[in-house]
Symmetry: C2
Subunit: 769 residues, 2 copies
């Protein structure tokens, strides 16, 4: 855990330069626009510790997996989010001496991520070895409006010298992934061109043959006016640059304006890409830096207008929730159904792949409530498009008849993780994908999706579960053997309660969905049954048998659901009794010891209770929470938010607040000592959930919006805005009052503390509590 | 499965050349002498499919492991048996045209491994593209007498031409391991020298810094007489050679005699190695090829004299058992306690490491009965020497107070496998290491070992088990969670019956051993307790508590021991009902499906019954055998022998014979389709066990030798010889008779079918059956 980020409501601020924190800050200060993004690397040369990262959405590499002993069904590759052409490079030499914060003496330094404006600003004063002192201010952003573009204004002011500065503004395609399994580089060069004032570089990924065409334009201004300098074009392998030499005087500022574009072959015909890059670059150069920056601020204002969460009385909490929302918007805009939300977004390489069950379990509710319906639908369509691959994936493992197993990690629908205990066993993800369809339908009230896309996915998933269980002659029940639940500190367990529960839920929901579509659109149903070769009587009959006779482990004495068979055989120790020096377990204990222990990485039984809350009475929820919470180490970023929501429901406000802080400031305070690898993007949606579903107690029941707001002691008030069907409502919770503002033109029924209220269009309602 | 090896009692014969079988034959026709060994690669250039393999005992490389996601406690490296300098190379060009069986037309071809003489002979006639036809006969061996040396006689006879042959006899250190994890080469060059008629090359392994100094001397003879040609010395990176050019005539034979030595820095000071290589080479050159070959035949005659198994009436069975015994002797001679028996010996790279639990569980009984007692003792001392490393290994996993966990795979005592489900979980190996101490003591009657070395190992192992179990509040018993039994088609199971059984057996045996040493050598005991900081009362008290309250899974209804908790939850299918196309499962099924199935890779419960047979009545053994045998797929080479022994005990002669054939001809007939990777050396000891303990029914009970011989229907008779304590006895079993010949000078009590007989020194006893 660290504590060096200044608390401020709208800004993330680092003051002073500590090279040991640099990789953490590179993650935290990351910028992006859903189409491209990057870590907060320096523009100028930096020879210290850094993790270079520039990413272009959808561009990946199928890196050969590393496994000890290959076994049938193992994925061939582990897809990597690719570090792509570095477009920010501005090499600076002062009278021949290279500017490098690793060799110079840093006198002042600050980094500011402004979440209102959507810009990253870095300022420093450095004394070079020669004794020359200069100040630099670098402002950078990835444009939300021109989402293939970014711009930099890099200003240099000599403090105590005059002389010559040489500048090399580059596109560097000779990059590598730090997590390359076999130290390979993944890019080859296609072309590099000088075209008028532009330098262009097109690179291709090996194997996947994605092209990324990048272009830059660089202008030098002095004292606010352009110098009109022509750049010298420089090129070497996988590298182009524009060189300038300028005379500088003490106290006078030289500003380098750099405009850059990155186009992906996912969106253009390859042979037209260079021309398109030129056109895009022309467009932004014509706009100019200031207008781009203005448009950026406007676009961000729009996002905040729709989705801000305001917390009064607790700056750390306020900053944190905004940071989480900001990073989510930087990662995914929902405009392209081919894209998804990588666990690290555009902020690091770790975890590879773009899509985990995180998307369905944690991110979908955030986008349902804060974005146009199309965004959530695109997330579902992403999986629909990959149904064939999910069926192939199940076939590779021996399943048949259209059974679908969605991958644990994927880029294109194929499984690309490489541990059997995850890929083969963490099959509960299949349930989350079905649950997302339910959740979408419940939230939007739109059953059309079910008929058009959803049911086909559900049938594949239901078929998988029906084949995955087997009849136990011992238990005289259907059992589910050899699984890994959400708690990845267990592997290959039998009858994981969560997995078995979500499996039969899927079967039930698919039967319901069939009935629903039957009533709604029987022609479509017939068509779908033909397409999937579905034998209704036979298959649903078998499903019903499984639903009726499934085994779920419970402990009658304790009155709890058992995480899995034999969980109570483990030595029962509580987290509070663990020495601090043993934490986090995953860094201190051997894997063996973790596996055998009772400690839980992240919500498992409680994840099921969170999903299916309505099926359990409050006492059952409390007993399970009271049993499992003290055994949970929360060593997954996805854990605290679920606990926060359940704690809030149970009125355990102190724990709920503690969990909220932990999830919301996870990266800002580097709780798990791993922020340097990148941010925990998907769990950021969980932070939002812990406010809205946790403190706000928001639920959708029978088509209506319900709230049970509670206020953490430390806060004066909090407010969040949600879109629900046609309505938009802001909920502000303060000590004695819940204020509801309907900002839309439709009336809305809203239940607060179980009482129904009619909230007229464009009106407010104040309820005393 | 293949069937191309000719059946012959003393020879392994391949006739005709099929390039697709070449890698299989390279394994089968491997030669070695315990100190060095090699695959049956060709001397001349071969551009077809081949797996080059020359190995020097004890020389390994710690190759960086390949794992997807690193976790604490994972081994850093996977030790590789190293492919070392190739000393057999004899490049031949006929009038400038390279001799290569891949490009020439092979008119005749045979390979013969003569197990009586210890030589590999290859003959072929080839037509080159030029139309030139020549015959070649190559005889090669690794000398048992000069165990750092090998020799080749390579004779060439032109059939239809005359002209010039150029010959390049080489030492090639530029070799690589095919299973290198990161395509690295593991050797660097130290020196290469020409010294009189010798060419010398010294190579060093990276990281481990082993040196191997090799030297060759090459002589050319024509028509039986030396030509006295001086070689031309050729050298390039990691390579030296001796070149000759000779005129040849149709029908006249040119013979190339090549003498080679390989010395390891394990046995010499590095700076003296080249001189020692020269001296060794001088010694064998002085002997000459014919005398070396003669000595080789004599040495092998000695080995057969002591350890032959003679089967009459079944050539395939006879050939097979001799092949197994022959390969065991080629792999391990027992002279050096630093060496052990790698699963592939000197015949391939797969499995890496030199030592698995195979040594204790399968090989030790073979050496106990067929070799001087020192050989078995050396195998035990190997582990004693690695006790510190085993304690370190356990510490890495969180164990303390001198608990020892021996590695699953090792070269130097450190764990070097790289799958958690094996390294952390297949802890039953610790039991086999304790059992070997018991087995040695039981067989030899020598308790001195226990006091001197054995007890210290037992205390470490017992401490491990005592810490590895935990108290289950659910079962009110001690349980053993998260293990993998011998059946590797299960991972991370709870309460594996075999593991729990051998664990408590270890505790009991250690308590017994303490009492024994207390009586025998109390001073040593005090010393040992001080050294190990052993608190007798406290520790043995706790052990006794575990012994008394251990949980073992059983099914009362079926009257069987359960392989593990929940085994009967699995879908119960029998192997006979599996489609042939699904076999072998490990090549046809996904790992997931295998894990969830009831199918058993190798004896698991039955392994325990084999070890602790005396603890169970015949009906219990029969019920367990009848239950588990039909579920066992025998996809480990270590499986059929145990089943053969139990089947024989239960009088199931047909199955016993079937298992025997399967284990004994596993490699000759390439049963598991993997002989090309190398031979299954350690399971070859199991073949011997299935004859002697299976058909012969040999057991040691209360210090006496017991036999229960039965004769497979297909056999006329079989005979084996065993050394038991001071006596040597040959047992010949025929249809109506068991003939016992005491070939030693001591009297022997021997029990046949439960009846005691006194077998006088140097006398025979014939018992009618």
């Amino acid at each position: 855990m660290k504590n060096y980020i200044k608390h401020q409501e709208w800004q993330i601020i680092e003051e002073g330069f500590d090279p040991h924190l640099n990789k953490i800050s590179e993650s935290i200060f990351s910028i992006g626009n859903g189409r491209m993004g990057q870590r907060a690397n320096f523009e100028e040369t930096y020879t210290g510790e850094t993790l270079q990262g520039n990413y272009v959405a959808g561009v990946y590499y199928p890196d050969k997996t590393r496994v000890g002993w290959w076994k049938n069904g193992y994925p061939e590759y582990f897809a990597k989010v690719l570090n792509a052409t570095n477009w920010i490079g501005i090499r600076v030499a002062v009278n021949g001496e290279e500017l490098d914060l690793n060799t110079g003496k840093v006198l002042e330094f600050s980094r500011v991520l402004d979440m209102q404006l959507g810009t990253l600003t870095r300022k420093f004063i450095v004394e070079l070895r020669s004794g020359n002192v200069l100040g630099v201010e670098a402002v950078r952003f990835c444009s939300l409006v021109d989402d293939e573009a970014g711009a930099i204004c890099y200003s240099i002011t000599p403090h105590n010298f005059e002389g010559q500065i040489s500048i090399e503004s580059s596109l560097d395609g000779d990059v590598k992934n730090q997590d390359s399994n076999y130290d390979e580089k993944f890019w080859t060069e296609i072309s590099k061109t000088e075209q008028n004032s532009f330098a262009l570089l097109t690179m291709e990924t090996k194997k996947t043959a994605f092209w990324v065409s990048s272009g830059i334009h660089t202008e030098i201004h002095q004292n606010g006016a352009p110098l009109g300098l022509k750049p010298k074009f420089v090129s070497k392998e996988k590298y182009v640059a524009q060189q300038f030499t300028v005379d500088v005087k003490k106290g006078e500022t030289t500003a380098i304006y750099k405009y850059a574009v990155n186009l992906s072959s996912e969106n253009y015909t390859k042979n037209k890409m260079e021309a398109e890059a030129v056109a895009t670059l022309q467009k932004i150069v014509a706009k100019g830096f200031d207008r781009m920056r203005q448009e950026q601020a406007q676009a961000w204002a729009g996002k905040w207008q729709n989705g801000d969460v305001v917390i009064e009385g607790d700056v750390a909490a306020q900053q944190a929730i905004r940071f989480n929302i900001f990073q989510l918007h930087q990662t995914y805009t929902g405009e392209d159904a081919r894209l998804n939300i990588g666990p690290k977004g555009f902020t690091g390489e770790k975890y590879g792949g773009s899509t985990y069950w995180d998307t369905e379990a944690y991110c979908l509710p955030f986008y349902l409530a804060t974005a146009p319906q199309q965004v959530a639908e695109n997330l579902l369509i992403y999986r629909y498009k990959q149904l064939d691959k999910a069926i192939e994936n199940a076939e590779k493992l021996g399943f048949k008849n259209g059974a679908a197993l969605y991958p644990m990690v994927t880029m294109n629908g194929e499984e690309c993780h490489n541990e059997w205990e995850i890929t083969f066993e963490e099959i509960h993800r299949n349930g989350a994908i079905a649950f997302a369809i339910f959740n979408y339908s419940r939230y939007t009230g739109d059953q059309g999706y079910l008929a058009k896309y959803g049911l086909e996915v559900l049938i594949g998933i239901a078929r998988f579960w029906a084949q995955r269980v087997n009849w136990s002659i011992e238990k005289e029940r259907y059992v589910m053997l050899g699984v890994t639940g959400p708690n990845e500190y267990e592997n290959n367990v039998n009858n994981n309660w969560y997995t078995s529960t979500i499996a039969t839920w899927c079967l039930k929901y698919t039967i319901e969905a069939i009935e629903l579509v039957k009533g709604m659109d029987p022609v479509r149903l017939t068509e779908l049954f033909a397409k999937t070769n579905f034998k209704e009587q036979e298959e649903t009959g078998h499903w019903q048998e499984i639903i009726d006779q499934m085994f779920y482990p419970v402990d009658e004495k304790l009155g709890i659901f058992l995480q899995q068979d034999g969980y109570l055989d483990k030595e029962q120790v509580l987290v509070k009794d663990l020495p601090a020096s043993d934490r986090p377990l995953n860094q201190k204990w051997s894997w063996d010891r973790i596996l055998r222990s009772c400690f839980i990485k992240q919500a498992d039984v409680l994840q099921g209770i969170y999903f299916f809350e309505e099926d359990y009475d409050l006492e059952t929820i409390r007993r399970n929470y009271d049993f499992y919470e003290p055994r949970t180490v929360h060593e997954s970023s996805l854990s605290p938010c679920v606990h926060a929501i359940i704690a809030a429901k149970l009125g355990d406000l102190d724990r709920a607040y503690e969990f909220y802080l932990r999830t919301s400031r996870l990266d800002l305070d580097d709780y798990n000592n791993d922020t340097e690898d990148g941010l925990h993007i998907t769990s950021m949606a969980g932070t939002w959930l812990s406010v809205v579903e946790g403190f706000g107690g928001m639920r959708i029941k029978e088509g209506a919006l319900h709230l049970h707001p509670i206020l953490p002691q430390k806060w004066t008030s909090y407010a969040f805005k949600i879109g629900f069907r046609q309505a938009v409502v802001t909920v502000k919770v303060s000590d004695k009052q819940v204020k509801l503002s309907n900002e839309s033109n439709v009336n809305l029924e809203i239940h607060v503390f179980g009482l129904a209220h009619q909230l007229q269009a464009n009106s407010n309602l104040e309820l005393n509590t």
